[in-house]
Symmetry: C2
Subunit: 176 residues, 2 copies
Amino acid sequence: MQSVVNPGDHVIDATMGNGHDTLFLSQLVHTTGHVSAFDIQPTAIKSTAQLLSDNQIFDDNYTLYQVSHSKISEVIPKEHKIKAAIFNLGYLPGGDKTIITHHETSIPAIKQCLNLLETHGLVIVVLYYGHPGGEDEKKAIIDFAQSLDQHEFNVLQYQFINQIQAPPICLAFEKR
Amino acid sequence: MQSVVNPGDHVIDATMGNGHDTLFLSQLVHTTGHVSAFDIQPTAIKSTAQLLSDNQIFDDNYTLYQVSHSKISEVIPKEHKIKAAIFNLGYLPGGDKTIITHHETSIPAIKQCLNLLETHGLVIVVLYYGHPGGEDEKKAIIDFAQSLDQHEFNVLQYQFINQIQAPPICLAFEKR
């Protein structure tokens, strides 16, 4: 992500959660770029705004949307290309395991980000699946990723395979 | 590999083949390091020696062993730690698909390299498996990789998943 995102870029945090990725992306795009961050939970908006403020990130450098990531295309105009997007799917590590993402909304959200992506731009999806329903979302997303035209996207899958307790799977989609 | 291997290091090319990785590693370890390269086929030794010579790599910077990689531990003394090793397993891309590696020898070879590895050293295994017998070797090696103690090694698996024709799988073993 650091090698792709530069100051001035527009990027998306599709799963705001506690705001750590929003902060990370804000620092990469610097004061000339913009982060659009999404979460349906009001607590996510609140804690992310606090975290950004605590780190001297000003609100002209980000927009926090209390909107499902499946509605990214309704919020971001399609002329407004992005350099990158991050998804953390499944449950929020350290958080409530009953609040989970679902492939019925996460796959449309990924598609919308891929449609907004600049050439050589990157969508990173981190899949946590060690929870009820997690295997279904994982399978659906990997099936979707494998179906993408290799002339349009490179899709790299990577994971640590010798860890106990279902280590997360990462997918990196690069626009060709 | 570039971020791990430095001038002066000792590294292993466990599957010499046409010598491209031997050359790549020789350039990384520079004139103060050493590459030990293995292949049982005399043609591999010959074409690798030619490639290195054509690229002004001198023979005090490498040793080409016409020895099975399952005998690395008989050739490299265990005090002689390595920073990295590379394996290309399966068949030689662009070469004869009937000449293939087998997990009965490749797994012992990987183990021997892991035993020689310095802390934070790296073994990279690239698995080509689109040939008769390839699925067996792939499964055996991934099973072996998953069985390694996560306190001793980080094992990262990665591959492009949306390519047709069985894209290679990479395994990166980092000594902790």
